[in-house]
C-alpha cells in the first residue's frame, strides 16, 4: 500500500491561540476574596406574639446608640469610637464587681472549672436611618473586636495560643468552653427612628 508521508502540523500559531485564551481568562477573572463581618440576623417574630417586655435588668444592658450625625451615645454618655472597645470589654468582664455593670454567675466550664461569668449581659445596638454605613460597620467591628480580644486573652493564658489558632475539629471542646465564657450577645433593636 502506498503510504503518504504525513506532514507535520505547523505549531507556530499555537502560542497565539494560547495567548488569546490566556488574555480572555485574565480579563474575566476576579481575584478578590470575599471577606467581611459575619452576623446572624434574629428570626422575624411571629405575627401573633405581641411585643413582650423582656425582663432584663438595667445593669445587664449595654446601650449603644448611633445618631444620624454618626455620634455615639454609650450608656447615656457621648463617646468617641476609639474608646468603645475598651468600654465594651470592661462591661463584659466587670473586673471590679461594679454594681452598675452586669451581674456575675458561677458556671462550671470544662477546662476552666467554676468561673464567674456575666451570663446575662446584653449589648443593645440601635442606629438611626440616617447613620452612615461606614459608622455602623465601625461600631459593629469594635463590639466584635471586644469579644475577640477577650477570647484571645483567655486562650493565651490557658493554652498559649490565640482563639483563631485553635483547631476547629481537634479543639472543639476548648472552643465551646471559651465561647461559653465570652458568649457574643449583640442584639439590634427593632428599627425605629432614634432621631437626633
Amino acid at each position: 500500500m502506498a503510504r503518504r508521508q504525513l506532514q507535520e502540523i505547523n505549531a507556530g500559531s499555537m502560542a497565539d491561540i494560547a495567548f488569546l485564551l490566556l488574555i480572555f481568562f485574565l480579563v474575566s477573572t476576579t481575584m478578590d476574596t470575599d471577606s467581611g463581618i459575619l452576623r446572624r440576623l434574629p428570626p422575624m417574630p411571629e405575627e401573633e406574639t405581641k411585643d413582650e417586655q423582656v425582663d432584663v435588668k438595667e445593669r445587664n444592658i449595654f446601650v449603644v446608640l448611633v445618631n444620624r450625625n454618626d455620634q455615639l451615645l454609650v450608656e447615656g454618655e457621648l463617646m468617641n469610637i476609639k474608646d468603645l472597645r475598651e468600654a465594651t470589654k470592661e462591661f463584659i468582664v466587670n473586673p471590679n464587681d461594679d454594681p452598675d455593670l452586669p451581674a456575675k454567675e458561677i458556671v462550671d466550664v470544662k477546662y476552666f472549672g467554676p468561673v464567674e461569668i456575666t451570663k446575662k449581659h446584653v449589648i443593645s445596638l440601635q442606629n438611626d436611618r440616617g447613620t452612615s454605613y461606614e459608622m455602623y460597620i465601625a461600631v459593629q467591628n469594635e463590639l466584635v473586636a471586644a469579644y475577640s480580644e477577650l477570647r484571645d486573652e483567655l486562650c493565651m493564658k490557658k493554652w498559649g495560643k490565640k482563639f483563631d489558632d485553635l483547631d476547629s475539629e481537634k479543639d472543639e471542646d476548648k472552643i465551646e468552653a471559651v465561647e461559653t465564657i465570652y458568649d457574643r450577645k449583640i442584639s439590634e433593636a427593632e428599627p425605629r427612628n432614634v432621631g437626633g
Binding site: 502560542a15 470575599d34 471577606s35 463581618i37 459575619l38 440616617g130 461606614e134 465601625a138 459593629q140
Partner: protein, 161 residues
C-alpha cells in the same frame, strides 16, 4: 569607530521559542483554575468599608450577593442609593423572591448554609440597609456577611473627616 566594527564574527543564534507555548499554557491553566467569573455587571457605585474582625467566605456557591449604592449612571437613575439584585435595580420587596430563587438553586442539604453577602457602599445611609435586613429576616435568610476590606475602621473614620 572602526575599531569596534572589526571584531570576530560571533553571531548569537536566535533564542528558540519552541517552549513559549508551554509557558503560555501553564499560565493559561493557572488562570483557568483560579478564575471566578464576574457574577454581575455592577450598576451601582461600590466602595467597601474597612473592618478588622473579618471572616473569609469559604464556599462561593453558597453565597448570594446584594449590592447597594448610588447608581453609576446618575444622569438616568439619580443619586439616591439603590439596591442591585443580579443584573438590575430592585426594590426591597423583591428581595424575598430573589432569596427564594437562589435557595431553590441550592442542594437541599446546603440550604441552611446559604449566606447573603451585603456589598454596601460606605456612603450609604442605614435606612435602606435596615429595610434590606428586615426583608432578609422575612425571607429567613439569616446568615449575612457585611462585605468589607481589611483595615482599621476607626482610622478610616477619622481620615474621612
Amino acid at each position: 569607530m572602526s575599531k569596534f566594527k572589526k571584531g570576530e564574527k560571533k553571531t548569537v543564534g536566535s533564542i528558540s521559542t519552541a517552549s513559549l507555548p508551554d509557558i503560555v499554557f501553564m499560565l493559561l491553566f493557572f488562570f483557568m483554575v483560579t478564575t471566578v467569573m464576574r457574577e454581575v455587571e455592577l450598576k451601582v457605585d461600590y466602595r467597601p468599608t474597612t473592618a478588622d474582625q473579618i471572616t473569609k467566605l469559604e464556599e462561593k456557591s453558597l453565597v448570594s450577593y446584594i449590592y447597594i449604592g448610588k447608581p453609576l449612571s446618575t444622569k438616568i437613575f439619580g443619586t439616591v442609593p439603590r439596591i442591585q439584585l443580579n443584573d438590575s435595580f430592585a426594590e426591597p420587596e423583591q428581595i424575598r423572591d430573589f432569596i427564594a430563587a437562589k435557595r431553590e438553586q441550592l442542594n437541599e442539604n446546603d440550604r441552611p448554609k446559604m449566606t447573603v453577602s451585603l456589598k454596601i457602599d460606605k456612603k450609604v445611609e442605614m435606612g435602606i440597609v435596615t429595610d434590606v435586613k428586615q426583608e432578609l429576616r422575612k425571607a429567613s435568610a439569616l446568615k449575612i456577611n457585611y462585605s468589607t476590606n481589611e483595615g482599621d475602621p476607626v482610622e478610616a473614620l477619622r481620615s474621612r473627616r
